[in-house]
C-alpha cells in the first residue's frame, strides 16, 4: 500500500482509514491514538483512546476520569493489529509516556513521531530511532539557529544568578507537563537541595511524576509561602503567569523562562524575560536532522513548526520531503517549546 493511502491528512488530523483510527486528532473521533499528553495532541472527547499507560494517566489528570469512553494502555514495543494494520508505540524522549507511533501495512512502515527529543532526560525514556519508509517529524525548532546546547550549563546560569541576587525570587516559566519536572530533576542533579516552590498549575503533574519514582526533591506550593522564604528561592510557574499580577507577590523577581525559544534574543526580550534558559523538550536542528537520518526513511513529512528549512534540508539530501501544514499543533500553547 502506498504511504499516501495508508495515512491521509484530514481536517480532523492524520487518519489511517484502513486501520480506522486517527493520530492525535484535533476534534473528537471514534478511535484515537495519542502520542503524548500535551493538550494540543491529547484532546478530550474521543470514544476510544489508545496510548501508553503514563499518557492515559496524565490525560486523566488533565481532563478527569471521563476524558474518553474507553482507554486502552499499550506498552512500548508491543504490537497491536487494527483491521489489518499493525501499530506499535516507541519512546519519543519528549515527556513521560511520550511515544512515536509505528504504523505497518503490507510492507509499508510509517512513523508518526509526535514531539520528540534525542537528548538525555532524567524524567522519561530516551528517544529510540525506528527504521521506516516514511518519517513524520515535528519542526518546532526546524532552523539551524536552534542549538539547545547542554542543559546543565543553563542550570549553572540559574544557580549563578541566585548567588548574585540572593534576595530576589527566581521565577522560572516552564511548561506545566514535562519541562517543570525535568527542570526539577536537573536542579537536583546539579546539587541544588533547597525546596522548590510550585505554582498551583504544576502540582498535579509533578505529584504524578514523583509517584512514578522520579526523584524531584522537596517541592512546596508557592501560595503558602511567606515572602521572606521566597528570597533567593526557585519558583516554577507556567510562562503565561510571568506577565500577570501573580508574579508581583514575589520579592523583586528575576523572570526566567526555560525553553528552546530562548536561543533567539528577540523571543526572550519580547516576553520581558531577564534570564533566558535554553532548555527544550523538542529536538534542536541537529537532533531533527540526525533523527531523520537514523530512521533511514526515504520520505519525510514535516508537521508543525518551521517546515521550510527542514524540507529544504531533506530535499538537498535526495529525500522526498513535504510540509503537511496541519493547523492546531503547537498553537494552543505557543510557549510549549
Amino acid at each position: 500500500m502506498r504511504a499516501q493511502e495508508l495515512l491521509v491528512r484530514t481536517p480532523k488530523g492524520l487518519c489511517c482509514r484502513a486501520g480506522g483510527f486517527y493520530i492525535d486528532p484535533l476534534r473528537p473521533v471514534d478511535r484515537a491514538l495519542i502520542t503524548h499528553a500535551h493538550s494540543d495532541h491529547a484532546r478530550a472527547g474521543h470514544q476510544h483512546v489508545l496510548a501508553t499507560a503514563e499518557t492515559l494517566d496524565l490525560m486523566r489528570l488533565r481532563y478527569g476520569e471521563h476524558f474518553a469512553a474507553s482507554a486502552q494502555p499499550i506498552a512500548y514495543g508491543e504490537k497491536l493489529g487494527l483491521d489489518g494494520v499493525t501499530v506499535s508505540f516507541h519512546p519519543a524522549g519528549h515527556v513521560l509516556g511520550s511515544a512515536q507511533i509505528l504504523i505497518e501495512a503490507e510492507g509499508t512502515r510509517i512513523v508518526a513521531s509526535g514531539d520528540y527529543k534525542d537528548v538525555a532526560d532524567p524524567t522519561c525514556e530516551p528517544f529510540e530511532p525506528v527504521s521506516c519508509d516514511v518519517f513524520i517529524t515535528e519542526a518546532t525548532f526546524g532552523l539551524p539557529v536552534f542549538r539547545h546546547g547542554d542543559p546543565r550549563a543553563e542550570i549553572g546560569k540559574l544557580l549563578g544568578s541566585i548567588e548574585l541576587f540572593p534576595e530576589r525570587a527566581h521565577l522560572v516559566g516552564v511548561y506545566v507537563l514535562g519541562k517543570a519536572q525535568r527542570l526539577l530533576a536537573l536542579l537536583r542533579q546539579a546539587g541544588y537541595e533547597r525546596p522548590v516552590y510550585l505554582h498551583g498549575a504544576l502540582e498535579a503533574f509533578t505529584g504524578y511524576y514523583a509517584s512514578r519514582g522520579i526523584a524531584l526533591g522537596e517541592v512546596r506550593p508557592a501560595r503558602d509561602a511567606q515572602k521572606t522564604q521566597l528570597a533567593g528561592a526557585v519558583v516554577l510557574c507556567p510562562p503565561s503567569v510571568l506577565r500577570e499580577p501573580w508574579a508581583r507577590r514575589f520579592p523583586d523577581p528575576v523572570k526566567a523562562f526555560a525553553s528552546g525559544w530562548m536561543r533567539v534574543r528577540a523571543q526572550a526580550r519580547q516576553r520581558g524575560i531577564e534570564l533566558p534558559l535554553v532548555i527544550s523538550d523538542h529536538a534542536d536542528w541537529k537532533g531533527l536532522t540526525s533523527a531523520i537520518s537514523a530512521t533511514g526513511a526515504r520520505e519525510i513529512w514535516v508537521t508543525h513548526g518551521q517546515e521550510d528549512a527542514l524540507v529544504h534540508w531533506s530535499t538537498q539530501r535526495g529525500l522526498a520531503a513535504r510540509a503537511l501544514r496541519i493547523e492546531g499543533y503547537g498553537e494552543e500553547d505557543d510557549e510549549a517549546g
Partner: protein, 572 residues
C-alpha cells in the same frame, strides 16, 4: 561550582553583555557590572568599560565582510530562512556559525584585550581571517558579543553614565567625580580603577567642561493644572529638537575646551563642529539643538537629515546649520548656579547670550500668560502667540517654576512639559515587516493606508509606517494576525489582507502632516504611532485620504481627534 570561564576572557565579557541586555532594572544592571569589575583583572575590565562607554576606537567591520564569511560556511537558503526568523544579522551569524571541531582552547582563552589591540593594528586584508579564527574559538554568546563589538553597535541598554556609576560603586565614590576626570582618562583605565579601589591617587587634571546631569520635566495632564498657581511658573516653547548641554572652559595651560553633550552625557561634539566653535564662554548652557536657516527654525524632519549623516562635511554644515537655543545656565565662570532660582539663572543666561552676540546661539523666548486658559491657547496656536514662523518646530509648552533650583533627574512639580495633542485617524494595515532589536522576530513594522477613489473603484493608499505605540501583548496579537493573513511576499515585506470587510484597522496618532512628493499619497506624517487597535472596526469604515488633506490645509495648532472627526463629518 567551578568558574566556567577564565576571569578576563572574551566569553565572560560576552556573558556580562548578554545578561545586561536582558536585565530591565537599573540597580540590577549596576550590580552585574560592579560584580564584573570587582572580579575581573586589569586590563580586561578597563577594555570592558571602554566598550560599555563607547570609548573604543577602531575601524569597524562592515556587515558585508561578515556576510561573506558566513556565506562560505552555510547553505544560503537556510541562512535566509534563519535570518528572516531571528531578525538581527549579527545574531543570526553567531547562532549559525559552525562549531569548530577542535573547540575552544581552554588553556588560552581569547581575551577582550587581544581583540581590542589586534583590531586597532590589523590591516584590512587580514581582518576576515582573524575574525573567522576568533569566531571559531567562541561559543554562541561570545560570537554574538564579538560581532556586536566589531560592527560597532552594542545596544544593550547601558548608558556611559551607568557604567561609570558601576565603577564608582567599587569604592563608594560619587559618579560625578568620575565624570569630572573622565575626559582625561584613556582605556584601559588602570589609574581610574586603582583610585576607586583605594590603591592609587586620584587621576588629576580635572575637566574644565564636564557634563552635569540634566533636569527633566514631567508630562502634564490637564488635571495637573488646577492646583498650580500660574504666577509661580514661567512658560517657554517646547522645541522639537535635541536636548543638549554646551559646556566650555579653559585648561590649566590656558587652552580652550568646548563640548556638546546629549542629555545622557554622551559627548556629541564631533558631530557638530560648527556649533562647538561658537561656544566661546566659560560655563554650561542647557538648551535645544536645532537647525536654523535664515533665522527660521526648521522642523525635526530637517534636523534628522543632519543627524542621519555619519560624515560631517562642509556642505552638510552649510545646508543644515546647527544652532543652540539656550534656556538655562548651570555654571558660569566657575560659579555653580544650580541651587539658585530659575529667574536668576535666566537673567544671567540672557546677559551671557547677549555678550556672546553669536547668531548660532540665542535665547529661547518666554511665553507670556497670566491664566492657564491663556497658556492653553498659546499651546494650541504657537504661531499666533509669539512663535511666529518657528511654530512648526514647537511641540508644546514648558512650565518652569520661577523659584525652582536646577535639580538633576525628574523632580516632581518643578518643570512640566505640556505637549500639543496628536491628531488621530483610522487606517488599515497593508504591509508588515519584521522589526529590529528585541522585536526582530516579530512582524512589528507596519505600513498602513487610507481609502481613496481609484481608477477601479475604492482603493487603499499607503500613508505612513509605524513601529510602536502598541503593548507587548498587542504585538503578539498583531504578529499572529499578520502570519495568518499574508496574501503576498515582496522580499522581507509581507502584504496583509486589506479589503473592505477583511483586515485590521489601526488608530494612528501623529504630530503633523507635510506634503511629500516621495510618498504615493503625497503626504508624510510626522512621528506616527499606533494609538489603539480597532479589531472591532471593519476596514471599509477607516478614514479617507481627503480627511488627511483637509488636516493639511488647516495646518494650525492642535489638530486634535475632534478636529479630524469634525473635518470628516463636514465632508460627508
Amino acid at each position: 561550582m567551578k568558574r566556567a570561564e577564565a576571569a578576563g576572557s572574551m566569553n565572560r565579557f560576552a556573558q556580562l553583555l548578554d545578561r545586561l541586555a536582558y536585565e530591565h532594572g537599573r540597580n540590577a544592571k549596576l550590580r552585574l557590572m560592579t560584580e564584573y569589575f570587582r572580579t575581573t583583572p586589569d586590563p580586561e575590565r578597563g577594555f570592558t568599560l571602554a566598550a560599555l562607554t563607547g570609548a573604543l576606537s577602531f575601524a569597524h567591520a562592515k556587515p558585508s565582510l561578515i556576510g561573506a564569511l558566513i556565506a562560505e560556511r552555510t547553505d544560503p537558503v537556510l541562512f535566509e530562512l534563519s535570518h528572516d526568523y531571528v531578525g538581527d544579522f549579527s545574531e543570526t551569524v553567531a547562532l549559525l556559525w559552525p562549531t569548530a571541531a577542535a573547540g575552544a582552547d581552554s588553556e588560552h582563552p581569547l581575551l577582550l584585550s587581544d581583540v581590542v589591540t589586534k583590531l586597532s593594528t590589523l590591516g584590512k586584508a587580514e581582518l576576515p581571517a582573524q575574525l573567522a579564527r576568533w569566531l571559531d574559538a567562541l561559543d554562541e554568546t561570545g560570537r554574538w558579543a564579538l560581532l556586536k563589538l566589531v560592527t560597532g553597535g552594542l545596544r544593550i541598554g547601558v548608558s556611559a553614565r551607568l557604567a561609570k556609576t558601576a565603577v564608582a560603586a567599587l569604592g563608594d565614590k560619587d559618579p560625578d567625580e568620575i565624570e569630572l576626570i573622565w575626559p582625561t582618562l584613556r582605556p584601559p583605565y588602570l589609574d581610574l580603577f586603582a583610585w576607586v579601589e583605594g590603591h592609587g591617587k586620584r587621576p588629576s587634571a580635572s575637566d574644565p567642561a564636564p557634563f552635569r546631569p540634566v533636569m527633566l520635566a514631567h508630562a502634564l495632564e490637564e488635571q495637573d493644572l488646577a492646583p498650580l498657581d500660574p504666577k509661580a511658573y514661567v512658560g517657554e516653547w517646547k522645541w522639537d529638537g535635541i536636548r543638549v548641554q554646551a559646556a566650555a572652559g579653559r585648561l590649566e595651560d590656558g587652552g580652550r575646551v568646548a563640548r556638546l553633550y546629549s542629555r545622557t552625557g554622551e559627548d556629541i561634539s564631533r558631530s557638530f563642529p560648527d556649533l562647538v566653535e561658537a561656544l566661546a564662554f566659560d560655563g554650561a548652557i542647557d538648551g535645544e539643538l536645532l537647525v536654523v536657516r535664515e533665522g527660521r527654525v526648521q522642523s525635526f524632519n530637517t534636523l534628522q537629515q543632519r543627524l542621519n549623516r555619519k560624515a560631517v562635511t562642509e556642505k552638510l554644515m552649510a545646508e543644515f546649520p546647527a544652532h543652540l537655543r539656550a534656556y538655562d545656565l548651570l555654571v558660569e565662570a566657575g560659579e555653580d548656579l544650580r541651587a539658585k532660582p530659575f529667574r536668576e539663572r535666566r537673567a544671567r543666561l540672557a546677559a551671557l547670550v547677549e555678550r556672546l552676540a553669536d547668531p548660532r546661539i540665542d535665547l529661547s523666548p518666554l511665553v507670556e500668560f497670566s491664566t492657564w486658559e491663556a497658556l492653553a491657547a498659546a499651546r494650541a496656536d504657537p504661531a499666533a502667540f509669539g512663535a511666529g514662523a518657528d511654530a512648526d518646530a514647537v511641540e508644546g509648552v514648558m512650565l518652569k517654576g520661577r523659584e525652582a533650583a536646577y535639580v538633576p533627574g525628574r523632580p516632581r512639580g518643578l518643570w512640566w512639559k505640556w505637549k500639543r495633542g496628536p491628531a488621530l485617524i483610522d487606517a488599515v494595515l497593508m504591509y508588515a515587516q519584521r522589526g529590529s532589536g528585541k522585536r526582530s522576530s516579530f512582524y512589528s513594522d507596519y505600513t498602513f493606508g487610507v481609502w481613496r477613489a481609484g481608477p477601479e473603484g475604492e482603493e487603499l493608499v499607503p500613508v505612513g509606517k509605524a513601529y510602536f505605540g502598541f503593548t507587548d501583548e498587542e504585538l503578539l496579537k498583531i504578529d499572529r494576525f499578520v502570519r495568518r493573513n499574508i496574501v503576498d511576499r515582496f522580499g522581507p515585506v509581507r502584504e496583509v489582507v486589506h479589503e473592505a470587510d477583511k483586515g485590521l484597522v489601526m488608530e494612528i496618532a501623529f504630530e503633523g502632516l507635510q506634503r511629500s512628493s516621495r510618498h504615493k499619497s503625497g503626504l508624510a506624517m510626522r512621528f506616527p504611532r499606533i494609538n489603539r487597535l480597532r479589531w472591532d472596526k471593519p476596514p471599509g469604515e477607516a478614514d479617507r485620504l481627503e480627511t488627511l488633506e483637509r488636516m493639511l490645509d488647516l495646518k494650525t495648532g492642535a489638530t486634535t481627534h475632534e478636529r479630524a472627526e469634525s473635518a470628516d463629518a463636514a465632508a460627508r
